[in-house]
């Protein structure tokens, strides 16, 4: 797997690079701002770009803008945003942005949980999603009222499963979190797919679609 990283704070950039290399993930290039990100993505054609939201020169949302541009410009590129804070406006923009690659939005401190972070990196590089549990919590909180459409027909239990799926958890992890059997989780998931009218094709792909339906509905 080939990864590039855009982070202006050297301390963090070098830390993440060292951590990924220890896990045998190849960091092929590094950038310090949005322009640099587009340049190295164009030059190295990586599987994944890890991008800090705040980048020079504006130190506002430069990173997320550059990441969305890169995602639409380079089909298949996964984008994993690292941020110091959860911002529903940004996650919604990210999920709505053009592009086929995976998307992720994690709080920076999740990097400390090496196993979890590396799993997120791999998942987004493979076209999946990795949403921070704080992001999902905010979105789920909003969903408890004013349910509309297909999502409204989900039971609270199915909602819970979908929220955990949005975080990018596996069926086994969801089963552990909800203290049920993996079989029960699978049943919930197939109900969700049915209610959201997702065609029975590739299971992984449906999973992503279900999560995106769920997240977009909260936007």
């Amino acid at each position: 797997m080939r990864v590039v990283i855009a982070e202006d704070q050297a301390l963090l950039r070098e830390g993440i690079v060292a951590l990924l290399r220890e896990q045998h993930i190849d960091v092929v290039a590094q950038a310090e701002d949005g322009e640099g990100l587009l340049r190295i993505v164009g030059g190295h054609k990586p599987d994944l770009a890890i991008v800090d939201v705040r980048l020079p020169p504006t130190f506002t949302d430069e990173g997320i803008r550059a990441a969305m541009q890169a995602r639409s410009q380079f089909p298949g590129l996964g984008v994993l945003i690292l941020s110091q804070y959860v911002e529903p406006v940004y996650t919604a923009e990210l999920l709505d942005s053009d592009g086929e690659g995976g998307v992720g939005y994690l709080l920076k401190e999740r990097v400390g949980d090496v196993k979890g972070f590396v799993a997120s990196v791999r998942r987004v590089a493979d076209g999946g999603t990795a949403l921070d549990r704080e992001v999902v919590k905010e979105l789920v909180r909003n969903r408890h009222t004013g349910d509309e459409g297909a999502l409204g027909s989900l039971t609270p239990r199915e909602h819970e499963v979908l929220a955990l799926m949005a975080e990018g958890r596996t069926n086994a992890a969801i089963a552990r979190a909800m203290v049920v059997t993996p079989g029960a989780v699978e049943k919930h998931i197939s109900n969700i797919f049915g209610k959201l009218d997702l065609p029975a094709t590739d299971d992984d792909h449906r999973r992503v679609l279900a999560v995106l339906t769920f997240l977009r509905a909260s936007g």
Binding site: I16, R54, Q84, K108, V111
Partner: protein, 335 residues
């Protein structure tokens, strides 16, 4: 103090110069009269020469009155000199006592002036000026404070938070290499969780100062974000074209945030609508909901908001009749 003494000396010097020149002129006139005879006409010359000196002396005395009464005293001094002059002329010419009319006229004007002064007891113009200055300096102080808070927020982000993230990253890597020492690994994981908690606390602190999206994208995006975070359904209509000053933007943001929190707390089934509009020189924020109404305008959250708004010379109105929902309207001046 030095310059004042100087002007005084100049003044008395100037006065004695005038007096001596006038005295000389009068003396020449008297000599001429003594040589030519006739009625004693130099008395009129004396009167004419005395008039400016009398005016100068009396007005100068009047100017020593306390500031509030100074204008009245000057008017009084002037009236006194003119009345004196009239009486002098009457004494020389005789006939009915016509200066009574002058006395009555000036007396009336003085009385009117005195009445006005007592009716408007404050030094109004001074106060107006003072208020002007205070408004400007307070606004300046608030602007500085808003900028300073945003700087602190940024410093937290770039400094302490970044270091804690780096720390938690290193602890995470260390943890991975301690598979053979599970009890040490446990300790390291605890340390990493503490670091995460500290990062979380710093994040909450920074958000309380000013949410990043407000600084990054402005009021409309920040209110949109509030709506998405809110437990109730929120719609937004915004008609603002340019960004207000940071201090106004922050106050407007917290008005919306607090109002939506109140709606979610007291009317969890309601929906809310937020309107942002620009009127000339004013930013208008309105939050209306279809909840049960009956909110107390002086409730805890609302009085805090009112203080925030009033610090910017804005107004906050709450209309909340039972059964009719609640409307909170804030108007914030922004030049």
């Amino acid at each position: 103090m030095e310059p004042e003494r100087n002007t005084r000396m100049n003044w008395s010097g100037w006065l004695s110069l005038q007096t001596s020149v006038f005295g000389l002129i009068l003396f020449v006139c008297i000599v001429v009269w003594a040589l030519t005879g006739g009625t004693f006409w130099p008395i009129w010359v004396a009167m004419g020469l005395a008039l400016p000196i009398a005016l100068q002396l009396s007005i100068r005395e009047a100017l020593k009155a306390p500031r509030r009464w100074r204008a009245l005293a000057v008017q009084g001094a002037f009236s006194g000199v003119i009345v004196g002059l009239n009486v002098f002329i009457w004494a020389l010419t005789g006939g009915a006592f016509w200066p009574i009319w002058t006395v009555l006229g000036f007396g009336l004007a003085l009385a009117l002036h005195a009445i006005i002064l007592t009716r408007v007891p404050v030094r109004e113009r001074e106060l107006v000026e003072r208020v002007d200055v205070l408004t400007r300096t307070r606004r300046g102080a608030l602007d500085v404070q808003a900028a300073e808070l945003r700087r602190i927020e940024r410093d937290l982000h770039d400094g302490a938070q970044a270091r804690l993230v780096a720390l938690s990253m290193k602890l995470g890597r260390a943890e991975g290499r301690l598979d053979e020492h599970p009890e040490i690994a446990e300790l390291v994981r605890g340390a990493r969780e503490d670091a995460s908690a500290a990062i979380g606390e710093l994040r909450d602190l920074a958000r309380g100062i000013a949410p990043p999206v407000l600084a990054d994208r402005g009021l409309e995006a920040a209110v949109d974000s509030l709506g998405r975070r809110s437990a109730i359904d929120v719609t937004l209509s915004s008609r603002i074209t340019r960004r207000p000053p940071p201090v106004v933007e922050t106050a407007a943001y917290f008005v919306v945030a607090e109002s939506l929190t109140n709606v979610a707390k007291h009317a969890p089934d309601a929906t809310a609508h937020v309107t942002l509009a620009e009127e000339p020189g004013t930013l208008v924020i309105e939050i209306s909901d279809n909840g049960p109404g009956g909110a107390k305008p002086e409730g805890g959250g609302l009085s805090g908001l009112r203080q925030r708004v009033q610090a910017l010379d804005g107004t906050l109105a709450v209309v909340s009749n039972p059964g009719e929902g609640t409307v909170i309207r804030a108007e914030l001046p922004c030049e």
